[in-house]
Amino acid sequence: MMACWRLVLVLLSVALAAPAQAVQPSEMLDDPALEERARDISTGLRCLVCQNQSIDDSNAPLARDLRILVRERLKAGDSNDEVLTYLVDRYGDFVLLRPRFAAYTLVLWLTPAVLLVIGGVVAMRRFRSRPVAAQALSREEEEKLSRILGE
C-alpha cells in the first residue's frame, strides 16, 4: 500500500504519487554514461503496480527491482532497444509508457494528425466555399466605383 501511492487516488486533483523518491545512490552505476542511459530508459518504463508512474519516479519495491534489472542488462552490454525488448518479453507492452506503433495502437497514434488534417480541411473549405470580399471587382463595379469617386 505504502509502496505505491497512486493507487490511492484522491480528489479531482493533480496526481499524488510516491511519498518518497526513486533512484537510490546504491543502485546507481559507476559509469556516468551508462547511468545516464539507465535513467533515460527508466523514465519510459512503467512501474507495473503504479498508476502511470515511471520506475524512475516510483519508490515501489518492484520499480526498484526493475531499475536494477535495467542496469544489469546495460552492464551486460545490451543496447537500449535490447533492454526494452527484454522487458517487454517478460512483462508485456504494459511496461512501456510509450506504446509501440502497431496495429492495435494505430488509432491512438494517428488520431492527433488525422484530426488536425480533417479540421484544417474543413476550415479551409469553408473559406473557399464562401469567398469573401477578396474577389476582385468586376469591370462594371470598377467603373461604377470610379464614377462615384470621381464625383
Binding site: 505504502m2 501511492w5 497512486r6 493507487l7 490511492v8 487516488l9 484522491v10 480528489l11 479531482l12 486533483s13 493533480v14 496526481a15 499524488l16 504519487a17 510516491a18 511519498p19 518518497a20 523518491q21 526513486a22 533512484v23 537510490q24 545512490p25 546504491s26 546507481m28 523514465t43 519510459g44 512503467r46 498508476q51 502511470n52 508512474q53 515511471s54 519516479d57 519508490n59 508485456g92 507492452d93 504494459f94 511496461v95 512501456l96 509508457l97 510509450r98 506504446p99 492495435y104 495502437t105 488509432v107 491512438l108 497514434w109 488520431t111 492527433p112 484530426l115 488536425l116 479540421g119 484544417g120 476550415a123 479551409m124 473559406f127 464562401r130 469573401v132 470580399a133 477578396a134
Partner: protein, 665 residues
C-alpha cells in the same frame, strides 16, 4: 452533545430539501414558459438562491462534524483524527469522495445562484432556461450524492478515534487546489447551460456570446489557477520535483482547460463578428462534457483498472449515466437544432477570425490528443483485454508538436485586423520580437555550452511570446510613434480586455521559458552522505550537518540539516525531512526548497537512511518558478479581461430580443 448529534441529520435534511428545490428549478420555469405564466417563470429568480443556501447549510453541517471530530459520522471517522491540526480538519471535508462531491454540488449551486442574482439583464426566457438546465445538472448530482455518496451516514457505536486524513493531503495545497479547480470545472456548466438554452430558443446572437464570456472567463481563470496550484503542490510535496506527470487525473482537469481556452477564443469571434456561432455552442457543450468526463474518470475508480470499476460499479455507473444523459442529450439537441442557427460574419483566412480558427483547430486537436491518450488504454483493455500504458513519452511526442505551431502563430493573432488582414505588415511589426527571440536563443545556446539546438529555440519561443505581447501593447498605445503623453493616455484608456490579452499571452511565454529551463537544463546529484560530507550541485555546496528528530501534532519526522553556500555568499540552511504519520502508518518526504531568482535549489531525502548516513537527491532547477508564475500571470490576464467595461456593464439589449418574431426563424 445534542447539537453534535443532530447536526449531521440537519445537513442531510438540508440536502434533501435542496434536491426538492433543484427539481422545482428544473421544471417550473420551463412550464412557465410553456404556459406563458410569468409567475412560474419568475421562480427561476429565487429558487437557485434558496437552493444554494440549503446546500451551504449541508456543507456547513459536515464541516461542523469535522471540526467537532464527530466520529459517529462515518465520513469524519474515515478521514479525520482528533489530533489533526484545525486547518486540515476543515480542508479534510473535501479531501475524500463524499465531501468533494458535496463541494462540487455546492459550487454548482453557487453558480446557479449567481446567474439568478446577477442575470437581471438577461432576457427572462433565456435566464429561465439557463437556470432550468443548471437545475437538471444539480438534480442529477444531488441524487448521486444522496443515493451513493452520502457524507452524513452514521456508524454505531461511534469509534473513539478517527483514521486520519491521507498525509499527502495534509497540506495547505488541499485548502486551495480543489476549491479553485472545482470553481473552474463546475463554472463551465454555465456555458453549457447557456448553450443548451440557446438551442432550446433556436436563437443565438452576439449578445449571447457577451453574456457567456464572463462566466466562461471566470471559470477559466479559476481553473488555470487550480491546475497551476496543483502542479506546484505535487512539485513540493511528492519529493522528486516533477511538476506535471500526464497522469489521467491531471488530464481530467487539463482537458476542460484546453477546451475552455478554445471556447474563450471562439466566443470572442462570435461576440465581435457574429461568426463561428454553431462552433462556439458545440465547444461550450464539449467543455463541460469534459468536466463531467473528468468527474467520471476520477470518481468511478475506472482509472485504477477496468476491473476495479466492474467490482464496485454503483457510483461509477451512476456518474456514467449522468455523463451519457447530459452529453448525449446536449449533442442530440445540438444536431437537431444547430442547422436552424443562422451563420454570420464572413472573413478571409488571413484575419483575426482566421487566427482564432487556427487557435481553435490546434487547441481542440490537443484536447482530443489528451482525451485519446487517457481513454485508449481503458478502451483497449475493455475491448480486447490487452493492457498497454500511455504515459508521458506519448504526450510529449504528440501534444508537444501541436503546441509549437500554435505558440509560433500566437503573437500574430492580436496584430491581425478583423475580416481581412495584412500578414506582411504584422510580420514587419513583429520584427523586434523575432530579433529578441533569436538573441535569447543564441545566448542560451552559448551559455549552455553549445549543446543541442532545439532547447535554445524552444526557450526563444517563450521570449517570442513575451516580446510579441509587448509589440501588441506598443502598437495599441503607439509607443514611440506618438508623444509619450498620448501613449500614456492611450494606455490608460486601453480596454481591459486588450490589456488582459497582452498579459495572458506574456504569461504563456513565461511558462514556456520555465518549462524549457527546468526540463532541459536542470542538474541533479543523487548521493549518500555522512554528517560532515557535502555535495556540489550547480555551483552550490550542500554540507550535511546531521539528522535531528522532531515531533509534530500527528507525525514524527527525521529532519536533515544542510548548510548551502555558493562562493563567498551568505550560506543558508535547508532542512528536508522524512515524516511518519502515526494514525495511517505512512511516510512522506518533505523537500527543502530555496528560491534563487526564478530558479530553485531542491533537496529531498531518499529511502536509504542508516545510522547517520542519508541518501540525498539535490537538484538545481533553472527558471522553474516561471512555470507557475507564468500561469499566475495568465490567470491575472484573464481576470483583467473580466473587468472590461463592456462585460461589467453587461450586454445591451440585443436587436433580436426586441423583435422576437423575426429572429426565431
Amino acid at each position: 452533545m445534542i447539537g453534535t448529534f443532530s447536526i449531521a441529520e440537519l445537513g442531510h435534511y438540508a440536502l434533501v430539501l435542496a434536491l426538492v428545490l433543484m427539481l422545482v428549478q428544473s421544471t417550473v420555469p420551463l412550464l412557465g414558459l410553456y404556459w406563458r405564466d410569468q409567475r412560474l417563470v419568475a421562480v427561476s429568480g429565487s429558487t437557485p438562491i434558496a437552493g444554494f443556501i440549503l446546500v451551504g447549510i449541508a456543507f456547513a453541517a459536515l464541516t461542523a462534524a469535522y471540526v467537532a471530530s464527530d466520529f459517529s459520522v462515518r465520513n469524519v471517522w474515515e478521514n479525520s483524527h482528533s489530533a489533526k491540526p484545525m486547518l486540515y480538519k476543515v480542508t479534510g471535508v473535501w479531501g475524500n469522495h463524499e465531501g468533494s462531491m458535496l463541494l462540487w454540488v455546492l459550487i454548482l449551486a453557487l453558480f446557479g445562484a449567481l446567474v439568478a442574482a446577477f442575470g437581471a439583464n438577461l432576457p427572462s426566457t433565456l435566464r429561465a432556461r439557463v437556470i432550468a438546465v443548471q437545475g437538471w445538472i444539480g438534480t442529477a448530482f444531488l441524487l448521486f450524492v444522496l443515493l451513493t455518496s452520502n457524507p452524513f451516514e452514521r456508524i454505531h457505536p461511534p469509534p473513539l478515534e478517527g483514521r486520519d486524513l491521507n498525509p499527502i493531503l495534509q497540506d495547505i495545497g488541499l485548502a486551495i487546489h480543489p476549491p479553485l479547480l472545482y470553481v473552474g470545472y463546475v463554472g463551465f456548466s454555465i456555458a453549457f447551460a447557456f448553450a443548451v438554452a440557446a438551442l432550446m430558443e433556436r436563437r443565438i446572437d452576439a449578445a449571447w456570446a457577451r453574456w457567456v464570456r464572463p462566466w466562461t472567463l471566470a471559470a477559466w481563470v479559476f481553473l488555470t489557477g487550480g491546475i497551476a496550484m496543483g502542479s506546484y503542490w505535487a512539485y513540493y510535496e511528492l519529493g522528486w520535483g516533477g511538476w506535471w506527470f500526464w497522469d489521467p487525473v491531471e488530464n481530467a482537469s487539463f482537458m476542460p482547460w484546453l477546451a475552455g481556452t478554445a471556447l474563450l477564443h471562439s466566443a470572442v469571434v462570435m461576440e465581435k463578428r457574429g461568426a463561428l456561432k454553431v462552433w462556439t455552442i458545440l465547444l461550450a457543450i464539449l467543455t463541460f462534457s469534459l468536466s463531467l468526463l473528468g468527474t467520471f474518470l476520477v470518481r468511478s475508480g475506472v482509472l485504477t483498472s477496468v476491473h476495479a470499476f466492474a467490482t464496485d460499479p454503483s457510483r461509477g455507473v451512476f456518474i456514467l449515466a449522468i455523463l451519457v444523459a447530459f452529453i448525449g442529450g446536449a449533442l442530440a439537441l445540438f444536431a437537431w437544432r444547430a442547422p436552424d442557427l443562422k451563420q454570420g460574419g464572413l472573413f478571409a483566412p488571413i484575419s483575426r477570425e482566421g487566427a482564432l480558427v487556427f487557435n481553435n483547430l490546434f487547441l481542440v486537436t490537443a484536447t482530443a490528443t489528451v482525451l485519446i491518450g487517457t481513454l485508449y488504454p481503458l478502451a483497449l483493455e475493455a475491448v480486447t483485454g490487452q493492457k498497454i500504458s500511455v504515459g508521458a513519452p506519448f504526450f510529449n511526442l504528440t501534444f508537444g508538436p501541436l503546441m509549437v505551431p500554435l505558440l509560433m502563430a500566437l503573437p500574430f493573432g492580436p496584430l491581425l485586423a478583423w475580416k481581412r488582414a495584412d500578414l506582411y505588415g504584422a510580420t514587419q511589426r513583429l520584427g523586434v520580437a523575432m530579433i529578441a527571440a533569436l538573441v535569447a536563443a543564441v545566448i542560451t545556446y552559448v551559455v549552455a555550452g553549445g549543446k543541442g539546438v532545439l532547447a535554445p529555440l524552444a526557450l526563444g519561443l517563450g521570449v517570442w511570446l513575451i516580446a510579441g505581447s509587448l509589440v501588441d501593447l506598443a502598437e495599441r498605445i503607439q509607443f514611440l510613434r506618438a508623444p509619450v503623453r498620448t501613449s500614456w493616455a492611450r494606455f490608460v484608456g486601453l480596454p481591459r480586455s486588450a490589456l488582459g490579452t497582452v498579459v495572458a499571452h506574456a504569461g504563456v511565454g513565461a511558462m514556456v521559458i520555465g518549462i524549457v529551463g527546468t526540463s532541459v537544463y536542470q542538474t541533479e546529484e543523487i548521493v549518500s552522505l555522512n554528517p560532515g560530507e557535502s555535495v556540489d550541485v550547480a555551483g552550490y555546496t550542500l554540507l550535511f550537518q546531521g539528522m535531528s528528530p522532531v515531533t509534530g501534532p500527528n507525525y514524527r519526522e527525521d529532519r536533515a540539516q544542510f548548510l548551502a553556500s555558493r562562493g563567498g555568499a551568505e550560506p543558508f540552511s535547508m532542512t528536508p525531512s522524512k515524516r511518519f504519520y502515526m494514525a495511517r502508518e505512512m511516510a512522506t518526504t518533505e523537500a527543502a526548497i530555496e528560491t534563487i531568482g526564478f530558479s530553485q535549489l531542491y533537496v529531498s531525502l531518499g529511502d536509504e537512511i542508516e545510522g547517520g548516513t542519508v541518501a540525498v537527491r539535490a537538484s538545481y532547477k533553472p527558471l522553474v518558478t516561471l512555470i507557475w508564475l507564468g500561469a499566475l500571470v495568465t490567470s491575472i490576464g484573464g481576470a483583467l479581461s473580466l473587468t472590461d467595461r463592456r462585460l461589467r456593464i453587461g450586454a445591451p439589449k440585443p436587436a433580436a430580443a426586441r423583435q422576437p418574431k423575426a429572429a426565431s426563424a
